[in-house]
């Protein structure tokens, strides 16, 4: 931060050094100026703005120049009510809390399925494409990567069509299994575990799932965060699963390309040395490839996790959060509260809670990946 020592040594006179340093300072600030104006003006300052409004009941519509609503100024645009938005989302039983925890449950389900699945598939594909015997590497790389350059809205529309009742997916299954009765993929709120129970003859709509009696350990009907334990556990709905398939389908290409680059970065001598030491192919993969790919895996999982916790576009285009709120994600809830329910203050609070959740998740994930 202080004037650089090397310039000090090189320059002959004191005045010249000062002139030079000044010139460097001016150049430095001029160069970073435009970018900093944009980032501070439209990213950092607005964030404080949002933190402030998360503590108000502003509806997002009333003109802000009317000021704060008080007894003297009953026409004010908003009232300041401290942390009550946060409390309504997190702690007070009711519809706000239910919406938030349902969205949180859906988002976590989504991340738990999507992140590991796409990582494992991407690694497997990259590993096969990296084999020396494989011909047409370029073709496979293009085929897998192409979906990544397409817009999420386009892919959502294509998937809506493919998974529609008479779409590609159902008609293909019907060709293979004539007895198949078409699933309404995009309008099916049943959880996957719920369907599994159905299949083995247990009717999940039975009363046992509604009972809350801690004394006899019948807890499935108890509510945690205004959401029944059974709803926490019944798994992603069929419709949510469709969105997960979409996400995995889109992302594996990018992750495969990243893995492939990392695999090609591992020097061949490492493998040669290990082979000479008597490692089998399986051992090579387990003890050389996987450990050397750890930084890449860390990167891929972090990017995947951050993306999964923010899923929005697909929900907006395909389901608007339905059916029965089973595809309502936290990001979509932020949008819905702000722009449909006219609850800008509440939406800002939800957004900040989401920020904290993403931060905590990535930190926890960082610890876990570093230790394994």
């Amino acid at each position: 931060m202080a004037p650089v020592s090397s310039t000090t040594q090189a320059a002959p006179g004191g005045a010249k050094i000062r002139g030079k340093t000044l010139q460097e300072n001016i150049a430095g600030w001029t160069f970073v100026g435009p970018a900093m104006i944009v980032l501070v003006g439209f990213l950092i300052i607005p964030l404080f703005f949002a933190a402030y409004f998360s503590m108000t009941d502003w509806d997002g519509i009333a003109p802000l120049n009317r000021g704060i609503r008080t007894e003297e100024n009953p026409q004010g645009a908003y009232a300041f009510d401290g942390l009550s938005n946060y409390s309504r989302i997190l702690f007070e039983e009711g519809r706000r809390q239910e919406n938030f925890f349902v969205a949180l449950k859906n988002t976590i389900n989504y991340a738990i399925v999507v992140v590991p699945t796409q990582t494992v598939i991407a690694l497997t594909l990259a590993f096969i494409v990296n084999q020396r015997w494989l011909k047409g590497k370029g073709f496979f790389r293009t085929a897998f990567y192409f979906p990544s350059i397409t817009s999420s809205v386009v892919i959502s529309l294509i998937f809506m069509w493919m998974f529609s009742t008479g779409g590609l997916v159902n008609s293909m299954i019907r060709t293979l299994f004539p007895s198949y009765s078409p699933v309404t993929w995009l309008d099916n709120p049943d959880g996957l575990f719920h369907l599994v129970l159905n299949a083995v003859g247990v009717d999940p709509s039975r009363d046992v799932l509604r009972i809350c009696d801690p004394a006899t350990f019948q807890l499935l009907g108890c509510e945690i965060g205004s959401v029944r334990v059974w709803d926490w556990l019944s798994g992603p709905s069929v419709t949510m699963t469709t969105i997960m398939i979409l996400a995995i389908w889109t992302t594996i290409g990018t992750m495969m390309v990243i893995y492939l680059a990392a695999l090609q970065n591992i020097p061949g001598q490492v493998y040669e040395a290990a082979t000479v030491d008597g490692c089998s192919r399986l051992q090579l993969f387990r003890f050389i490839t996987v450990p050397l790919l750890r930084p890449t895996t860390f990167f891929v999982i972090t990017v995947g996790l951050i993306g999964s916790l923010q899923v929005f576009d697909q929900v907006y285009v395909m389901t608007s959060g339905g059916p029965a709120n089973t595809t309502l994600t936290v990001a979509y809830l932020v949008y819905r509260s702000a722009f449909r329910d006219a609850q800008m203050g509440l939406a800002a609070a939800t957004a900040i809670v989401l920020f904290i959740i993403i931060f905590v998740f990535t930190q926890v994930q960082r610890r876990i990946t570093k230790e394994v």
Partner: protein
């Protein structure tokens, strides 16, 4: 396991060779299966975008066109032509109805807006990101480290969290539903600054030192000496930025969502769903999807190397 050790000596036992062949076949099957899963949706999107609506619902897998373009409605009676006359499950009679309808839904305007936004933002980012990246890489000035950490911090803020703050500030500035409102907030990005900074750090310092000896100041050095050799990084930045903005949905929705004249392709497409009333007009959606994807596809196939290098690089650098 013992079998593979023998391999290094040059002798491969029959069982091990068989196992390797089997594994290779298995791997190949896996690969081809996934490649099909990735490609098939696009192929059938194109095929179905050229069908009349009844033909899409009756035979989504039909992919061989059998005639010239037909009308979907009988010109005499105005009633829709029956699906059985349009497709037999394998072949279909193509139609331009989807494309005609989506163009009539104001698609040319969305296309123009997408072009304006993506190009304006990309050009501005090339300037702001490379200037900032250079300053952070090479110029020592007070606040250099602080600014670096601020930018690093902004990378951690998830995009979704920013929709409310951005909306608030743009509303206050009266920039909602304007071209400037969408362009200015996106005119610089932390990722681009990092990309440029990394690149500038890899350039040998001697170049600048020579220019300095000749009496050139920072500005002259940057524009005359440094920028001309920065083409690879600028190309990567151009591609990332253009792709990101061409496909951008969230910012467009929040900032210009209520003025249909400023909609881009993504927002226009997303709002097409209401256009058919109760019926989902798949041929129109799919035609819109094809038109939206086509420019990116052309760019991708022309500059494929840069795409792949860019992603690989961000993956390796991200560690």
């Amino acid at each position: 396991m013992a079998a593979t050790t023998i391999e290094t000596v040059g002798q491969t036992s029959g069982a091990s060779r068989l196992l390797r062949r089997l594994l290779a076949a298995l791997g190949m099957t896996f690969l081809i299966l996934f490649a099909l899963v990735e490609i098939v949706p696009f192929v059938f999107t194109i095929a179905n975008s050229f069908k009349c609506l009844p033909a899409i619902n009756a035979g989504p897998w039909a992919f061989i066109p059998t005639s010239g373009f037909v009308e979907c409605r009988d010109p005499a009676t105005g009633s829709a032509i029956a699906a059985s006359e349009l497709t037999n499950g394998t072949t279909f009679r193509p139609s331009l109805e989807g494309y005609q309808t989506v163009v009539a839904e104001n698609l040319p305007r969305w296309f123009l807006n997408s072009v304006i936004f993506a190009i304006a933002i990309t050009i501005l980012r090339l300037i702001t990101d490379s200037l900032a990246g250079y300053a952070l890489a090479r110029i020592k000035f007070p606040g250099n480290r602080l600014i670096f950490f601020i930018i690093l911090g902004t990378l951690m803020i998830p995009g979704v969290v920013l929709i409310i703050p951005r909306f608030l500030i743009l509303k206050q500035l009266g920039l909602l539903n304007t071209y400037q409102g969408l362009i200015i907030p996106l005119a610089a990005d932390a990722f681009g600054i990092f990309l440029m900074k990394q690149f500038f750090e890899s350039i040998p310092k001697e170049l600048e030192e020579a220019a300095e000896v000749d009496g050139a100041n920072r500005f002259v050095t940057f524009f005359r000496i440094i920028l001309p050799i920065t083409t690879p990084a600028l190309t990567a930045l151009t591609i990332f930025s253009f792709q990101g903005q061409w496909n951008n949905f969230l910012d467009v929705l929040i900032i210009v969502g209520t003025d249909p004249n400023l909609w881009t392709l993504t927002l226009g497409l997303a709002n097409l769903q209401g256009a058919g009333g109760e019926t989902l007009i798949w041929n129109v959606f799919l035609a819109g999807a094809v038109i939206t994807t086509l420019p990116m596809a052309i760019i991708f196939f022309s500059f494929q190397r840069y795409f792949v290098e860019g992603v690989s690089y961000s993956g390796l650098a991200g560690q």
